[in-house]
């Protein structure tokens, strides 16, 4: 992991920034998000992929691409969480209490 971080920090940073941007937007965006069963299905899919990566059952290049994808996705989620929290905090400060 440390090796990949040093090797591709540019892509990883890009994923964090992308996540940050999406998190920032998502707080104020109107519209339907993923809900219900689909959310659960996606969660299960991601968990299965993480399980496969940890168990190292996917061989060769596909295994590497899976690892890379999951790392990018994890950093994207981290960026989303940070972006959403920050935006929420900014919005809460600028809106006078009702």
């Amino acid at each position: 992991m440390a090796y990949l971080t040093t090797f591709y920090w540019g892509w990883l940073l890009a994923s964090v920034l992308l996540g940050f941007a999406m998190g920032w937007i998502s707080v104020v965006q109107h519209g339907e998000g993923v809900t219900g069963k689909l959310r659960w299905a996606l969660s299960v899919l991601v968990a299965a992929l993480i399980g496969a990566a940890l168990a190292r059952v996917v061989p060769g290049r596909f295994g590497y691409w899976l690892d890379l994808g999951l790392i990018l996705f994890a950093l994207y989620l981290f960026g989303c969480v940070v972006g959403s929290c920050l935006r929420h905090w900014v919005v809460a400060r600028s809106t006078p209490p009702a």
């Binding site: 892509w11 890009a14 998502s26 707080v27 890379l68 994808g69 990018l72 994207y76």
Partner: protein, 464 residues
């Protein structure tokens, strides 16, 4: 927290560019990553001795295929690659090199090249052997047919390097090391090479032994050619050492009284046992021929040429082989020189005087036994006597003035008689010869010097 859950439903939109990022990252990074991991894995195995090492990288998975020379080396190699940062999995396709039993290594030399084959314990030793072979053999092609195997005896490399030194001393042949047993066969390059190899093998490392040494030496040649026209005796070939060399030249000088000795002998070890005695005897036989060639090749003596008369030919054919040490072979090819034209008594006397002016019939000191060196001279005297069959000849014995007169008189008579007996034995009629002794009464030189005394101790042939 509830807010975070609600917002997260809208994060999926960003997944689309994320997937694009992912695809680009995967597209651009895979090959450089694989190359980097391959290079790091290779570096990690820098100090590990492996054969046929092959590293292939797919993604972050490294496949290591190699032949290792020991189990701990094999496990160490896999662990070293596993420890390389970034490597996810190591597919272990390593194996131990096969064990050779018996562990056989050989070096074979033919006209064109030296071939090293069999097993070598490590790549470094294999390279060292090849390097040593190239250095030792300067210019000869060296072919590497060695494989790598486990199971070499301790100090294999020292033994193999010593044996490679020996292959340089062979013209052709093979040296095989089977476990700790050394076998050698072939032909030594030079005289003495066989002995040099045998001596070097004594330095084999402890535990190694010579099972068979069948290295042959090139034939040990000694040749003598008597040229009646140039009046020379040419000695060529080998003599074992300085002493034998000098003895052969001295013997040739004594036996060939009218020829100049041309000494082209080289000194070289490797002579068969009894060489010196056999060569001196054979030179004696050659001295009795009018023209001839002597070839001593190892333990075989070939003598060809013309004897001066029939009796001499018979004596040489029958007698020489008996003088040789056991195991020697004598191959005479003796013909008889055509008889020279008869001459009258005066010419005969001149011919006797000429011959006896060049050399004297020699006897054992104080005795009447004719020494073998005088056989050539006696043959020529007999040949001359045969040319004047009607002449009667007095064989006159003389001594120097040392000792008392009666003893000198008796000695001169016995010596003259010994010569007469020799001639009769050779087939000349006894009634043509009379033996007379004159003691010291007829000196031809002063008896006050050793040289003068030597001239006075003589046998004269006087035609009556």
């Amino acid at each position: 927290m509830r807010g975070l859950f609600r917002w997260s439903g809208k994060w999926w939109l960003g997944v689309i560019p994320l997937v694009i990022f992912w695809a680009i990252a995967a597209w651009t990074s895979t090959e450089p990553l694989e190359a980097d991991l391959a290079q790091r894995s290779t570096a990690a195995l820098k100090d590990t001795i492996l054969d046929k090492r092959r590293i292939t990288v797919a993604g972050r998975d490294v496949t290591l295929a190699a032949d290792a020379f020991a189990e701990d080396g094999r496990q160490g190699a896999v662990a070293a690659v596993e420890a390389v940062p970034g490597v996810r999995l190591v597919n272990d396709e390593t194996r131990l090199v096969p064990e050779a039993k018996p562990f056989v290594w050989s070096a074979e030399r033919d006209v064109l090249r030296v071939t090293l084959s069999g097993s070598s314990p490590l790549p470094a030793i294999r390279a060292r052997l090849m390097e040593a072979a190239r250095t030792n053999l300067g210019g000869v092609e060296v072919v590497d047919r060695m494989g790598l195997s486990r199971g070499a005896p301790p100090r294999f490399d020292t033994a193999a390097l010593l044996l490679l030194d020996q292959i340089g001393k062979l013209k052709d042949g093979k040296i095989t090391l089977s476990d700790s047993q050394v076998s050698l066969s072939g032909m030594a390059r030079e005289l003495g090479g066989r002995e040099a190899i045998a001596a070097a093998l004594k330095n084999l490392p402890e535990g190694f032994s010579v099972a068979a040494n069948e290295v042959k030496a090139p034939p040990y040649i000694f040749q003598a050619y008597k040229d009646p026209v140039a009046m020379t005796l040419t000695l060529t070939g080998n003599a074992p050492d300085n002493n034998v060399h000098a003895a052969l030249v001295a013997a040739a000088g004594r036996k060939f009284f009218s020829e100049k000795v041309v000494d082209n002998l080289k000194e070289s070890i490797g002579a068969p046992a009894g060489f010196a005695n056999a060569a001196v005897s054979a030179l004696g036989a050659l001295s009795r021929l009018s023209t001839g060639t002597l070839v001593v090749s190892d333990r075989e003596v070939k003598l060809s040429g013309d004897a001066l008369y029939e009796g001499a030919a018979g004596q040489i054919r029958a007698g020489l082989g008996k003088d040789f040490p056991q195991g020697w072979q004598f191959k005479p090819e003796i013909s008889i020189k055509p008889a020279a034209a008869p001459v009258d008594a005066t010419v005969c006397q001149q011919l006797f005087a000429e011959l006896l002016g060049k050399a004297r019939i020699r006897f054992e000191s104080g005795k009447s036994d004719i020494v073998a060196d005088s056989a050539g001279l006696l043959d020529r005297l007999i040949e001359t006597a045969l040319r004047c069959p009607t002449a009667n000849i007095e064989i006159a014995g003389h001594t120097d003035s040392d000792g008392d007169d009666a003893a000198n008189q008796a000695l001169s008579e016995r010596r003259a008689q010994a010569v007469a007996d020799y001639l009769v034995k050779a087939g000349l009629p006894a009634d043509r010869f009379s033996a007379a002794g004159y003691g010291a009464t007829q000196p031809i030189a002063g008896n006050d010097t050793d040289q003068g005394k030597a001239q006075n101790r003589r046998i004269d042939f006087v035609v009556k």
